[in-house]
């Protein structure tokens, strides 16, 4: 049986927010959830200890390529053991491993909900999150070898997640074969949350009343999430950064990016941006 439901996105594209909304809708009837107690899509799968337990040897001394190759088998094993639909949040690009199959095993994957966000807005969010300059964030988004939890000089307690550049990340998921990928735009989730969530819940085979959806949206505005974070912290924030939940707005880039920076982002990603309907007019500011 195919039980894995992937919640996938490039980092800072609204995946965490979406996961909190799902948790509220599916498990809490739309009520406010503690951001540090989200049950939907446990992050345990990316813990190195879980990976090592699966391998039955230590993963710390594997190269990135070896790690990716074993990770495909790890996800497959995880899916084979799942007895019910299981959400997994991921920032992995669905790249090919060993020049053969895609990283995400189609044999056990039921569905992917892929959340995409205008890369011009991601730049601003990423710069804040990693405490790097905007130019550096643009560079990260164009880096085809960019990897999460990859420490150049050591290891972390999470396994490396292969992210790649933004365009490849989006394409890797939207071109996935073997299981359906539902595309959600972050901007739609902001502007038309009820319609977007209604569509998602229908695709998940768990339609919910608009009242529940509305309650979930009302209880999890970025202001409310930021207040929770400021009061109790956010355990999923793994880097020493500014607040995880920042503005959550669309089109912040218009105030935050220079014309040169906009040009750089569009130059790198215009093809995928065009395909997704994001404007690539460099004079749009």
């Amino acid at each position: 049986m195919k039980h894995l439901i992937w919640l996938a996105s490039y980092p800072k594209s609204g995946n965490t927010w979406f996961r909190i909304l799902l948790d509220s809708i599916l498990l809490n009837d739309g009520a406010a959830v503690d951001i540090n107690q989200v049950q939907t899509a446990s992050l345990r799968i990316i813990e190195r200890q879980s990976f090592d337990d699966f391998l039955e040897f230590g993963s710390g001394e594997l190269t990135l390529q070896e790690s990716n190759s074993f990770k495909h088998k790890y996800y497959l094993d995880y899916g084979l053991k799942a007895t019910e639909d299981t959400f997994i949040k991921t920032h992995e690009a669905n790249i090919k491993v060993d020049n053969q199959q895609q990283l995400i095993p189609k044999e056990v994957s039921k569905l992917c909900i892929y959340i995409v966000r205008n890369p011009l807005d991601i730049v601003c969010s990423l710069a804040n999150h990693y405490v790097v300059s905007t130019d550096e964030a643009i560079k990260i988004m164009g880096d085809s070898s960019y990897t999460f939890f990859k420490h150049e000089k050591g290891i972390t307690s999470n396994i490396p997640e292969m992210i790649g550049d933004w365009s490849t990340h989006v394409s890797s998921w939207l071109n996935t074969k073997g299981f359906p990928v539902i595309l959600i735009k972050y901007e739609d989730l902001l502007c038309e949350p009820i319609q977007t969530l209604r569509m998602v819940m229908k695709e998940l085979g768990q339609p919910m009343s608009d009242q529940v959806l509305q309650r979930a949206v009302d209880n999890h505005s970025f202001g409310q999430l930021a207040r929770q974070e400021s009061k109790h912290g956010f355990r999923e924030k793994v880097v020493a950064s500014g607040a995880f939940f920042r503005k959550g707005k669309a089109n912040s880039w218009k105030e935050e990016l220079t014309k040169r920076q906009i040009e750089m982002v569009i130059h790198h990603h215009h093809q995928v941006m065009d395909n997704l309907g994001y404007s690539t007019d460099i004079n749009q500011k």
Binding site: N36, E47, R48, Q49, D52, D53, F54, L55, E56, F57, G58, S59, G60, E61, T63, F70, K73, L76, D77, H151, E152, K153, G154, I155, T156, S157, N158, H232, G233, F234, R235, V238, A240
Partner: protein
Amino acid sequence: MNLYYYKAYGLVFQSEFSIAGLTSEIACENPDVVLTIGTLDVTPYSLIKGFLIKEITPEGFLYGIKDLATFLLSDGNKVIVDPLTEETELWQMYLLGSVMGALLQQNGFLTLHGSAFVFNNKAHLILGASGMGKSSIAMALHQKGYELLTDDISAIKFDSNNKPYLFVASKHIKLWEDAIEHLSTAQEDMARVRESLPKFRLLLDTTHDQVKYELGNVFILNIKRLPEGQFAFKHLNTMQLLRYLNQNVYRKKFLLDMGNQKDAFFMLSQLANNAFGTLLNRTHSRTDVRLVAEKMEKFLKQ
């Protein structure tokens, strides 16, 4: 043929090949464990998860990783290695890791995932999940003058009064480049554990006067949301300690494979009853190992 002798975990190893990472020993006629290179036929066995072989055969416990190496462990005193890669460092990494874990289990040890150091002539364990900084903290304590007893695998046995003892492993420690930088512990003769990785093996200046040490504290490392530089020590009761010890058994699945699960659980219970367990909550920070070591030292002195 050249034979190499090593001593670790109270056992003398005789080997046909040199092993980087074990402490040399003078030649002896009756080694506890004999290691040889040989050809192992795995064709009757199917791969688990697409890459792993684990079989109890009439000759012993067969453990292999596809395209890397196969190992046959017989009666806790004989290991045949069939390397399938030319990267010696790689198959020896499995030999000193998972295979050593299984061998120690065959020899009746309780194996835990962690490092250990001496304080007041007792062994104190640092346990925790992979990537939590066990070796780095152990190295920081070593720099403060506390002898390192083992890195990565802690092997324990009990005397007739159920008192737990930790067996000394090696004078080597493996550290990542960032830990070496933070601890300013670079050495001229340190060697990469694999050519492609920024991880190094260091030989420590230590004597290891005893083969085993009575066990003192068991520190369990835990990542927690705390303000930067803050730590919290929490005493664990027997049941809590038992739960954490069980989580930190080294290669726990081997116990099931080799039918040693019941014995291991009995030993875990004995350990939980006879050791002092402390949960050490710390932040994600990778740069505070010296501070953690200081806090642990202060805690032990109290």
